[in-house]
Symmetry: C2
């Protein structure tokens, strides 16, 4: 697989998070010669928050996490790549139960304190018994460092590992937030799933952590689209160990600082996932403003970002603003053709429903050659505004997703 043009040369080892220990292993679920299991252990008292796919056909691990989440505490996370344990019926439920039991036994905790995520092929039963062969050794290897290795163990069609970290100085001391993610977005249910795991040594009660995570995800992972296809397995989990001793109380100034850092970390991870979208050669920010509401702006921005014709034009470095108009028109949201204005970066290509009188094909073409492009649409109706991020649609996307048999 050709690496994304946005792939960094290397991933520096992310900062450790007090109260978190990690280990990876090779269980041979599907891949050979690489790690495919991630085990994280959390200190007692760790709180947890989560957001999951909106799919009506969610995977068995998503159902497991939803079942455990209301208690608000966690002691471990077990993730595998290569098999999504999705659409596996009763076998899928049995596999989650067995996975949690194997991890719990190795760590001396209760199965319901183990959170689970799986990513890979849909419809194949997950051979969870294979975790048994590596779990005790993995538990023995648990160490506070290893986030980069963790980011690698959860990859599927990703072409590079993704991690981000933030340090925040709170009134009670300095805290760290470190997170990893894998994609490639909502792009690949065959190699399913967008997964992200974040841990902090701040002390945050579960409802506060959940509120901050939900708010952050709505502005980051929920604002990216690679191919409009929603995975059965999308999972974001955040764990707060409290090991730093610094507490984040709901509504405090510390909470605002912490939420700001968390938002920034989630957005960076979401951008990395987009930049590693299958076949991606361009990273595109699409902003719609002047809408009747922020929600309306968001729907129109999503309609533009999901349009195959807009995405293929971007792949072809074609400043094809007619396709932006088309995507605005099909969104079903209030829009007035004759008030529309459209920019590619700083170049205004259309105004008042017509091609800009000062339109320069050369200037627009120059913008389209850049690897990162900002598209802005002003509807001229109100003050609603939103941004979504996407990548282009290339022949490589079709090849990756269609050439299995040929």
């Amino acid at each position: 697989m050709t690496p994304s043009p946005f792939a960094p040369a290397e991933l520096p080892e992310p900062p450790m998070v007090a109260g978190v220990r990690l280990a990876t292993a090779e269980a041979g679920i599907k891949y050979r010669g690489r790690t495919d299991v991630l085990l994280m252990a959390f200190d007692e008292g760790t709180t947890v928050a989560g957001t999951f796919t909106t799919s009506r056909c969610p995977s068995a691990p998503v159902e497991w996490c939803r079942m455990q989440l209301p208690r608000g505490t966690a002691r471990a996370l077990l993730v595998n790549s290569g098999n999504a344990n999705a659409f596996t019926g009763k076998k899928g439920r049995a596999a989650t139960q067995l996975s949690a039991e194997l991890a719990a036994k190795a760590l001396g905790i209760a199965p319901e304190d183990v959170f689970l995520a799986s990513t890979g092929v849909i419809g194949e039963p997950l051979p969870a018994e294979r975790f048994g062969t590596v779990m005790d050794a993995a538990a023995a290897r648990l160490a506070p460092s290893g986030w980069a290795a963790a980011a690698r163990a959860i990859m599927t069609t990703d072409t590079f590992p993704k991690a981000e970290s933030r340090t925040v100085t709170l009134s009670g001391g300095s805290v760290t937030i470190t997170g990893i993610a894998k994609g490639a977005g909502m792009i690949a249910p065959d190699m399913a799933t967008m997964l992200s795991f974040i841990a902090t040594d701040a002390a945050v009660d579960a409802p506060t952590l959940q509120a901050m995570l939900s708010a952050g995800v709505s502005k980051s992972f929920n604002k990216i689209t690679i191919d409009s296809d929603t995975s059965t397995s999308d999972t974001v989990l955040a764990f707060a160990t409290g090991a730093s001793g610094a507490a984040v109380a709901a509504g405090s100034a510390d909470a605002a600082l912490f939420a700001e850092a968390l938002d920034s970390l989630l957005l960076s991870l979401a951008h990395w996932v987009t930049k590693d979208g299958e076949g991606c050669t361009k990273f595109v920010a699409i902003t719609v403003e002047g809408a009747e509401s922020d929600a309306s702006a968001g729907k129109i921005a999503k309609s533009i970002a999901d349009s195959p014709l807009v995405k293929t034009a971007i792949a072809g470095e074609d400043a094809n603003w007619g396709r932006i108009v088309m995507a605005v028109g099909k969104a079903g949201e209030p829009a007035d053709r004759d008030r529309l204005a459209i920019w590619f970066d700083h170049v205004r290509v259309a105004v008042e429903g017509e091609r800009d009188p000062d339109y320069s094909e050369a200037a627009a073409s120059e913008v389209m050659k850049k690897p990162e492009i900002a598209i802005r649409v002003d509807l001229g109706l109100g003050s609603g505004r939103d941004t979504v991020w996407t990548c282009d649609l290339t022949k490589e996307y079709v090849a990756i997703n269609g050439d299995y048999r040929s």
Copy 2:
């Protein structure tokens, strides 16, 4: 452009429709060395019905037709290919006015009796004055035959002309319905638009014709999707000249016969448009049954048909039913993962939310090699049912829509 694998060897000249005369011309709007103008003239007393794009940013000709339609009568139709006259602001309105005036003058009728449609590039002003140079000669050439030439004149990225005809024996005599269409579906707003024009010599009052056309379109053109992108210019117009002397009264047995023939004609045209989708190599019927309602079944079928991952898998001849599950799950409609069953043609690949115990990879692969494939999903919830038609997503689609500049 490589012809679609579904392109017929030739288009036989379709049956004439009494009361309709046709002519084509080369106005050089964009193309050279081919016809790009279609003029149809209708006998006095011809009724008209129409359905149009749901885009909030419709083209100027769509607005013109919507303005004239309530009167229910028509004397002419003027269509051009190469320029969509969409997103052209006040210039676009002026161009429709001038187009109608030029046709009206050549035919000795009123401008408001002229219906208009344009297909091609978005955002370029339409040089309607060029119609003036060909209109008198076209009017002089008007003849009852020429439907095949008409189908050719309205093509853009289409790889073959599309026409269908039906003859119905009514109590008052035999009537003919002939129609033409161009695509490539909702696929190409750069070369914009799905257009279809149907004429009959039956006598049908405008409200009855409108009701039958709307019902027929909802079961045909509104059930196909090539790339989920809705054109600014989609237009279907039906004209009834009454020249056969056979009347179709609302609610009569004749109306049922006529509607059946019209439905069949619209469905055939819609299938031809799908089979000529850009880059299409497979024609796929997607049926969802066992839904809570027909509308719910339709939404889920559309979600499957629009999924890039389903479409690339079909292009790769991959019986990837996990992606069907994904698309069912993301549709947002009621579904119970553990009741799902999925078939590719006669091969059941999944049942009760798991891979079919008798699943044969070889049998499923055999189905995927066929040019026409039926996918069936049973949700096991109720009796709602619907079918949509689509094509696959290939590298050629990306090339056609993204390679302009490279």
